[in-house]
């Protein structure tokens, strides 16, 4: 049976419809996906992300270990800062994508995808070797609540104690309290808007979510489900693990090379990645917008003229764009503005290459 977060009863009270995602029974929407999506673009939305995993990594050799097992910066990341990175296997395939916080000189916390917790933990454990490092799966100990949108900062500032949230930089985090509950507040997200992801003790999740919804009542805040989370991240150009990439995709094709530090002397998968760069694979992840009302979905084929040139890895209706949008794998030689065709239920529909992100706030 699917697992439930501590907020399950609260979701029900709030009128959620549920879906199964990564082994969890999660709210897909409370009102409508469009309404929740636009609340985040205009005001703010609150999401339960407690299905995501937390893996604590600490010990004397933690910098050496994570520096090897992650392809991003690790050592130079200051305490109080967070980093987004893919995690690679020996073949440079993406095991998962994650955000890590540097908690202390010898301690990091990894926030990983719900469906990958066990795989990630096993992958990390396999590569620890003789190093003095402790791995702790704390996924059952933490609720994670995100508040995203232009009004998120004002709302969190109202309720946070012992921390000036306005001073938390992008991809920084700080400890404080909300309604007396100890929390970690990180300025991170998956929506393309400013906002925070807040960790709190598992049982306190519902109270935290209620406090944020209450504090944002006059600002037009809405509880948001995974439906809006998906349409928001698609517009923002963020990949979804399992749809847009998996163990067989490298950061070259997934268009994530800007997160990789090739200058590092060594990291797991570096040789394979170097080889992949030299191979110069043609198909890479980018964004398209439909030119009619059709909606592209995972697996739709893409044509230019008579030639099949790629495929849709994830697609939806983008409420802020006002059209069907998709992340796709097509030749990177196609310039922005190029017209292509997407096959949807046997018919070809016109679309335009727009790159990533698909939606820009100021556009």
């Amino acid at each position: 049976m699917a697992k439930r977060t501590a907020m399950y009863d609260l979701h029900k009270e709030l009128g959620a419809r549920f879906t199964e995602f990564g082994g969890w029974e999660m709210p897909v929407r409370y009102t409508t996906i469009k309404e929740e999506h636009m609340a985040v673009r205009r005001n703010a939305g609150v999401f339960d992300l407690s299905h995501m995993g937390e893996i604590r990594v600490k010990g004397q050799d933690v910098v050496d270990f994570l520096g090897y097992v992650l392809p991003s910066r690790v050592k130079s990341v200051k305490v109080g800062k967070a980093v987004y990175t893919p995690m690679l296997n020996e073949n440079a395939g993406i095991v998962d994508d994650l955000i890590f916080y540097r908690i202390a000189d010898d301690e990091y916390l990894l926030i990983v995808n719900a469906s990958n917790v066990e795989k990630d933990f096993a992958h990390l454990a396999k590569h620890v070797g003789e190093r003095d490092v402790e791995l702790i799966d704390e996924s059952a100990e933490w609720s994670l609540v995100a508040i995203q949108g232009p009004k998120a900062e004002d709302i969190v500032a109202k309720v946070a104690e012992g921390v000036n949230v306005r001073e938390i930089p992008f991809f920084g985090f700080a400890f404080g309290k909300i309604a007396g509950m100890p929390v970690s507040i990180a300025r991170t997200g998956y929506t393309g808007e400013d906002g925070f992801e807040i960790l709190v003790e598992w049982d306190k999740g519902p109270e935290l979510m209620k406090v944020l919804l209450d504090a944002g009542k006059d600002e037009g805040v809405l509880p948001c489900g995974l439906g809006a989370r998906d349409s928001l991240r698609l517009e923002a150009g963020f990949p979804l693990y399992g749809e847009d990439m998996d163990d067989g995709t490298t950061p070259v094709e997934a268009n994530l090379m800007r997160f990789i530090r090739m200058k590092k002397k060594s990291f797991l998968g570096k040789e394979a990645l170097q080889k992949k760069i030299e191979e110069d694979p043609l198909l890479r992840r980018t964004g398209i917008v439909m030119l009619d009302r059709a909606i592209p979905r995972h697996g739709s084929k893409i044509y230019k003229g008579d030639e099949e040139i790629g495929y849709v890895s994830s697609g939806t209706f983008g409420p802020a764009v006002g059209a069907g949008i998709a992340q796709v794998y097509i030749p990177y030689t196609l310039e922005k503005g190029t017209e292509i065709m997407v096959e949807i239920r046997g018919k070809l529909h016109p679309a335009k290459v727009v790159g990533l992100p698909i939606y820009r706030k100021d556009s």
Binding site: I33, K34, E35, G227, D230, S231, R293, F317, P319
Partner: protein, 128 residues
């Protein structure tokens, strides 16, 4: 939720309204539109298309997914609701009125006997 008494209902959540001896209007129920959420695209059938009961009549897409609308009866498509091309949300706003999908010319009017009454339909979705 609203289920008008004068309509026939299918197990796949379509409604059928008899508007002439051999003519019916078809759409999806209030329950179906509510389950789907915001409808953002409707793929309408071509006029003249011959359908057997159970064939795909149209496709409605919500933000999240695409769903087939099955023809509850056999017949020929003689009219489609072109308005849905520009305003697919009419299905959410007025599923039994402005959100109708197509008009069919029935092959065999007795097929309507296979469909459910409003009460039967309500009972079915209550049990789901």
């Amino acid at each position: 939720m609203n289920f008008p008494e004068n309509l026939f209902y299918s197990e796949e959540h379509e409604w059928v309204e008899k508007i002439g001896p051999k003519k019916v209007r078809v759409g999806i129920t209030d329950h179906a539109q509510s389950e789907l959420g915001d409808i953002v695209f409707v793929e309408l059938p071509e006029i003249g298309k011959e359908l057997t009961a159970g064939d795909t009549l149209a496709v409605v897409e919500s933000v999240k997914s695409a769903a087939d609308v099955y023809s509850p009866v056999s017949g020929k498509v003689i009219e489609v609701n072109e308005e849905l091309n520009d305003r697919p949300e009419l299905i959410n706003e007025d599923p039994y009125g402005d959100g109708w999908i197509a008009v069919l010319e029935l092959e065999d009017p007795s097929e309507l006997d296979n469909l459910m009454t409003a009460d039967e339909y309500k009972r079915m979705i209550g049990e789901e």
